[in-house]
């Protein structure tokens, strides 16, 4: 189906055939200015990663102890023990700041690990299918079409219901529903690359298929995959929040942002901060990853740059 190729966030895919392995093509000194600008766009993302790594160390999160006497305190309130809750407290009196920082760790972990796993599976399947063609290719495309035909959130619900709640299971669930995107993009990129001069040249000088694939074709598909990955990280974090809303997210001892947003939603009219603080953090991360992805695409895609 022609339509399917465009499905998966397709407009974000830079043209892989534009240069030999997009990334390499631009890793030259004359692009320093652009690289610095790209780095600036990555700063917010790096900030959140730093918060996820160091935040819980500075403001430790205690998933067990509750202080029901200090529940539903607004941001900035002084608690009974004299400490200040900068982002308020939740429905059992736990500090929201600690929870948001811990949530950063879980949500970013889920986002990154899912994309990594889905990316690896998708890339392996997609490149082999694209390179070998024939039965492997048909099989991949059929499986992908079957999976795409029903909405991923429903598929995720079923898998989550089967394997139960844990952070690892949420990652597995989302990776299973997300690999298709990477598979299709890598296949398309492989198809485009396989007939290009440097590959045919390698073939002509007698390189074995495995070598052609690993040394020449696969690297050329990285650029589109990386751009897709930045888009997918955001989508995965949102998808995890949706699972949490339906009660199939991470376990309560390891609350993701989505989990906290979902559990606080009954309090939106009297304690808005419980749901809004992690919700804000979540949106900002998705937004900054998205912005960075946009810039990265422009950077990697010569045509978009021209304009």
């Amino acid at each position: 189906m022609t339509s399917r190729l465009v499905v998966d966030a397709a407009e974000q895919v830079p043209d892989a055939s534009a240069g030999r392995g997009g990334l390499e093509a631009y890793a030259r000194p004359r692009h320093w200015g652009k690289q610095i600008r790209l780095f600036l766009w990555a700063l917010p993302v790096l900030f959140f990663i730093a918060a996820a790594i160091f935040g819980p160390i500075l403001v430790p999160y205690d998933s067990v102890t509750v202080r029901t006497g200090d529940r539903l305190q607004p941001p900035g309130a002084i608690l009974r023990d004299g400490s200040r809750a900068w982002l308020g407290t939740d429905q059992v009196g736990r500090d929201m700041l600690a929870q948001v920082l811990q949530g950063a760790r879980i949500s970013l972990l889920v986002g990154a690990a899912t994309v990594l796993i889905a990316g690896l599976i998708g890339m392996t399947a997609g490149t082999i299918a694209g390179f070998r063609g024939g039965f492997a290719d048909s099989l991949l495309m059929r499986v992908a079409d079957v999976q795409l035909a029903f909405p991923s959130i429903l598929f995720a619900i079923m898998i989550a219901a089967v394997i139960g709640p844990s952070v690892a299971n949420v990652i597995i669930t989302l990776a299973i529903t997300r690999w298709v995107v990477f598979g299709r993009v890598s296949r398309a990129a492989t198809l485009a690359t396989k007939e290009r001069e440097f590959v045919t040249a390698a073939r002509a000088i007698g390189a074995k298929p495995a070598r052609q694939l690993l040394r020449h074709v696969a690297p050329a598909t990285f650029a589109p995959l990386i751009v897709i990955a930045t888009v997918e990280v955001g989508l995965v974090i949102i998808a995890e929040a949706s699972l949490s809303f339906l009660g199939l997210g991470t376990p309560p001892s390891q609350p993701s942002w989505g989990q906290t947003v979902a559990n606080g939603r009954d309090y939106l009219n009297n304690a808005w901060w419980i749901s809004t603080m992690p919700g804000l953090a979540l949106s900002l991360v998705v937004l900054s990853v998205g912005m960075f992805g946009d810039r990265l695409r422009d950077y990697l895609d010569p045509r978009a740059r021209e304009g």
Partner: protein
């Protein structure tokens, strides 16, 4: 062209069969048992066994599978275990309700995203371009259940402009449709912008410009038409996704749609209902995409020639 369509239909049937088989298996490896679920925590093993055999759940898996596929071919989906009524009735009712919501959301999304996308493309690299791209990203980055509840609190509770929940009148449609539309606005705006930028650089547009055609003419006569192909594709895909993907919005706004039905059916382990819902969602998805594929033939002469 007939051969093209026949090939597509055969392929569609294959995809349907694959989806059904996967679902049949996944539903049955779910932990939990519909009979004891229906009886509640107080029931004994014997009571559950009686109900289970009444429901036809004591047959072996291959028998259930063959029965299921042959019934599906005859469009006989049996009765829902949980709702105790023909599955087909529930599913058609709900898919229409979701369809209404999805189409409304799509119209809203198109009405917002086309002007925004065109504006951004025409003023590329300007402040407006950045603003549009940030706004469209925001639409995609807010969890829809949080947004939906905020809408209820603002528009129903504070301003008292719209009803909070339900599906009785057209006013009930507004909040869920807008909530559902916002992430779409993001996708479509970006698509319109990049699609337009791409065709603007094509030779024939340059030629048209060089001929001295006024920019609005270039836009409508040449650029738009070619940009429509990816846009229509994505509209098709997104409409299809909305059928099942609207479940969150349906839950928040109490909209009696197919997504909510399916999720409840999964939670209730109502096998016939789950299977039929998926079949209909999948079939609709495939049908929409078939129509999209056929629409290419009319939009792009090059495809017709192939």
């Amino acid at each position: 062209m007939a051969a093209y369509i026949i090939r597509r239909v055969i392929y569609a049937v294959f995809v349907l069969w694959g989806a059904l088989t996967v679902i049949f298996m996944v539903v049955r490896i779910l932990p939990g048992d519909p009979a004891s679920l229906m009886l509640g925590a107080g029931a004994t093993q014997e009571e559950a066994d009686v109900l289970r055999s009444n429901l036809g759940l004591d047959a072996s898996l291959p028998v259930q599978y063959v029965r299921f596929i042959s019934d599906a071919v005859r469009l006989d989906f049996g009765d829902s275990l949980w709702l105790n009524r023909p599955v087909l009735d529930s599913v058609t009712e709900r898919i229409l309700a979701t369809g209404r919501l999805a189409v409304a959301a799509m119209i809203i999304a198109l009405l917002i995203s086309f002007p925004l996308g065109i504006l951004a493309a025409l003023k590329q690299r300007s402040f407006i371009d950045y603003l549009v791209s940030i706004l469209s990203l925001i639409g995609q980055s807010v969890p829809s259940f949080w947004l939906g509840i905020m809408f209820i609190l603002i528009f129903a509770r504070q301003l008292r402009l719209l009803p909070s929940s339900g599906s009785q009148t057209w006013q009930h449609l507004i909040l869920p449709a807008v909530t559902l539309a916002l992430p779409l606005v993001g996708v479509l705006t970006r698509l319109v912008r990049s699609g337009l930028l791409e065709v603007m650089h094509e030779d024939y547009i340059r030629t048209a410009r060089a001929k001295g055609l006024a920019p609005p003419n270039v836009l409508t006569r040449h650029a738009m038409r070619n940009m429509l192909i990816p846009v229509i594709t994505v509209i098709g895909i997104q409409l299809g996704n909305l059928l099942g993907g609207a479940v969150i919005v349906e839950t928040v706004f109490g909209w009696p749609g197919i997504g909510r039905l399916l999720v409840n059916a999964i939670f209730q382990r109502d096998y016939p209902l789950v299977q039929a819902s998926i079949l209909f969602i999948t079939a609709t998805f495939i049908l929409i995409n078939l129509l999209v594929d056929i629409s290419y033939v009319y939009l792009d002469p090059r495809i017709r020639l192939k």
